[in-house]
């Protein structure tokens, strides 16, 4: 999380406000760019992964553990001012194979009309989340994102509709704040494509709204509370699909064996159905200890919740799934170089998309329990910065995270547990 000064600096378009914010006041050789990458050793374990066995390929469950040396993706951050009150941010980012995409691409007009209440941003950007997933302190597979920011009910087919508050989104944002940044509000109009380029899914839009207020509590200093909401829609089927047939081998008679894949044509998604996310956040500072608390509530339309085209009938007893979530993240900062991290997230389904019937999960028919898909994740971590510099960063990072999701193991519909241990160097220059 940002310090009060950092938050104000960001909200003011990376400007000090001293009439020297245009780049012409910087040394000609200065280019605001940094890269960040993290070489690590990590261990991943899944308690009930699908494996081959007596029941055939993929017919059994077993604990699968992998470990070894690895590295993260690479981020190139560049941002700053183009001129006074014109700021930008561009972040080419790769996965750890080196495949690049643009994580952020935006420009912003700041302090329009001389008012800190009028700032307009256009492009792909992080939503106005007080608890930023892009500045997250944890790095493991389970805890490298906030589960609540990305949760979708277990009845939804992966890839049918993807959405995450933690994902950078494409759109237009108005943001305003008081001069001292104690009060902040924002509203964004966003394409319903979860930040993907090229209008890949549909012609729908969503809206994200956030507001927060900081207040002083005696010697404890500033505390902040806020609320946010995302109201969006996503397509449930496509007007047109591209069918591709490829030969994947030959049969016993030497005849080709073909495989057919169907890919929707970009922008042809229709049958939009709605989804909603709401949250309340509190950021509490108690000297060297701070804690962030968030309450979440989410609702998906039944068609999205079951990954069904809106033209098809819903299964008997189908509902719009809804859930509640909580996040508690605490930090203890011994000093600016050494920080301990703890986080607990929980997600509880309050309404399943399908009727509850004891037994295994039967897609489009029933779920085994009312807790189907519930998540608990606990994370502990430590970061130590051997030096503090405004021009480079280096941290020893150690972290352990364990996640349990109820009744979603692939074969037996038992609880699925995954854990991750990570040790590494996190550096930026």
């Amino acid at each position: 999380m940002l310090s009060p000064f950092g938050q104000q600096f960001k909200d003011n378009g990376y400007q000090m406000g001293n009439d020297r914010d245009a780049p012409i006041f910087q040394q000609a050789a200065y280019w605001p760019v940094t890269f960040r990458i993290t070489p690590v050793w990590h261990r991943e374990s899944t308690s009930r992964a699908q494996v081959d066995g007596s029941n055939g390929p993929g017919g059994n469950e077993a604990t699968v553990t992998t470990h070894g040396f690895d590295w993260s993706g690479l981020d190139f951050h560049t941002g700053g001012t183009l001129a006074k009150n014109f700021s930008f941010y561009v972040l080419p980012s790769s996965d750890n194979t080196g495949a690049f995409h643009f994580e952020s691409v935006w420009a912003r007009m700041d302090n329009i009309g001389g008012s800190s209440w009028f700032n307009v941003k256009l492009g792909k950007f992080e939503l106005d989340n007080l608890l930023s997933e892009k500045r997250i302190l944890t790095l493991t597979n389970e805890a490298g994102v906030y589960q609540n920011y990305h949760f979708q009910p277990a009845t939804e087919t992966p890839g049918f509709y993807t959405f995450g508050i933690g994902d950078n989104q494409d759109g237009l944002e108005w943001m305003g704040h008081s001069k001292d940044d104690r009060t902040r509000v924002s509203a964004a109009l966003l394409s319903s494509n979860d930040g993907s380029p090229g209008l890949p899914t549909n012609r729908g839009y969503g809206g994200y709204f956030a507001a927060s207020r900081a207040f002083e509590v005696g010697s404890l200093g500033l505390q902040r509370v806020g609320a946010f909401a995302y109201l969006g829609e996503a397509p449930t089927y496509y007007q047109s699909n591209l069918t591709t047939t490829t030969t994947v081998g030959t049969d016993g008679d030497g005849n080709p064996v073909n495989s057919t894949t169907t890919t929707p044509y970009a922008g042809t998604g229709v049958g939009n159905k709605g989804f909603q996310r709401y949250g309340l956040i509190g950021m509490w500072y108690l000297k060297k200890f701070d804690i962030t608390t968030i309450y979440f509530h989410g609702v998906d339309n039944a068609y999205l919740g079951l990954s069904l085209p809106s033209t098809s009938p819903l299964p008997a007893g189908a509902h719009s799934p809804s859930w509640n979530g909580g996040l508690f993240e605490s930090h203890y900062m011994f000093n600016p170089q050494w920080i301990l991290i703890n986080r607990y997230e929980l997600i509880r389904m309050s309404q399943q998309a399908l009727p509850v019937v004891a037994g295994p999960y039967v897609p489009d028919v029933s779920v085994p329990t009312s807790t189907f898909g519930n998540i608990d994740v606990v994370t502990f971590g430590m970061r130590y910065y051997p030096f503090i510099s405004s021009r480079a960063g280096f941290a020893y990072h150690a972290e352990y995270s364990i996640l349990r999701q109820r009744n979603v193991s692939p074969v037996t519909s038992s609880d699925l547990t995954t854990s991750s241990l990570l040790l590494g160097f996190d550096f930026a220059f």
């Binding site: 104000q8 000090m16 001293n18 012409i24 006074k84 001292d180 200093g221």
Partner: protein
């Protein structure tokens, strides 16, 4: 027994005499900075221990771990960050050569320094800023050896008239303000390129046409205070001994008319006169946007 008494006496004399001599002055050692300081701003009391935590989070990158302005960013910052060890401060309500009040430093933290890399720290709490003021005072022995004196009086601003503006313009010539600030107040006087601060670093005179914010505030009272206190550590002297209060106010009124890009009562009144309108119009024609968003 006698010898023991004598020995004790001798030891006592050896210990006490040097201390007494030091207390008498003459060879008095220089005062050392105190590791514990407080600040008092209104109802707030700042504590240096709390301020240290904040300083080493927010300030040391420019001002340095020892407060002497040699932080890792200092080579890239112009003007250079303040050296707190010297205990010399630009923005004061107290006479030149004296320490500022705690409230002066507190106000500076909240305001920042326009046209420098020192931002406003208004995002911090009032208590945070008071704590920082207390900690800044631990760097210099001046805070131990000296006490801030009373602030200079600022009489009520007289009524704005065309005559006061004209008289201010005459003073601008008479006091040779133009030598540094230029005839049009653009900071381009004949001496401008030769000026250095107390660290022998080049320093530019204030360009009145660039903004209506000076380093030490934006109100007329702030401008008045700058004349009378000077900006210690810079070539801007105090005029307290050579300018009468009413003259200083006239000068304030005149300087506002140099800020042709910022509306003010002084500029509006000045433009009602044929002479003033002609001058202001001519200056505005010369002003063009640089493309940087900053008016020249």
């Amino acid at each position: 027994m006698l010898n023991i008494k004598k020995l004790c006496l001798n030891v006592a004399v050896m210990l006490i005499l040097p201390l007494a001599a030091m207390a008498q002055g003459g060879d008095q050692p220089a005062a050392k900075p105190s590791s514990h300081m407080e600040s008092h701003i209104g109802n707030l009391t700042g504590h240096s221990e709390a301020g240290a935590q904040l300083y080493y989070r927010y300030c040391w990158g420019c001002h340095g771990a020892r407060g002497n302005g040699d932080g890792e960013n200092a080579p890239y910052v112009t003007p250079q960050p303040r050296n707190f060890v010297a205990g010399t401060f630009k923005c004061r309500s107290t006479p030149t050569g004296t320490l500022p009040l705690d409230s002066d430093l507190y106000d500076t933290l909240g305001r920042g320094f326009n046209f420098t890399n020192m931002p406003s720290w208004a995002a911090l709490t009032a208590q945070n800023r008071a704590d920082l003021v207390a900690f800044i005072k631990t760097f210099s022995a001046r805070w131990v050896a000296e006490k801030p004196v009373d602030p200079i009086p600022i009489p009520a601003e007289p009524k704005l008239t065309v005559e006061s503006i004209k008289h201010g313009g005459e003073l601008f010539q008479k006091l040779e303000c133009w030598k540094c600030h230029g005839q049009e107040g653009r900071g381009d006087g004949p001496s401008a390129s030769t000026l250095t601060d107390s660290n022998d670093q080049p320093i530019r005179p204030y360009n009145f046409t660039s903004s209506n914010r000076s380093k030490c505030g934006k109100t007329n009272s702030d401008l008045y205070r700058i004349f009378m206190t000077g900006l210690d550590g810079t070539p801007m002297p105090s005029f307290a001994d050579v300018v009468k209060p009413e003259d200083a106010w006239d000068l304030v009124h005149y300087l506002r008319t140099l800020q042709v890009n910022n509306a003010s009562p002084e500029l509006a009144l000045w433009e009602t006169t044929p002479e003033g309108k002609a001058i202001v119009t001519a200056k505005k024609v010369e002003n063009t946007y640089t493309g940087s968003g900053v008016k020249p």
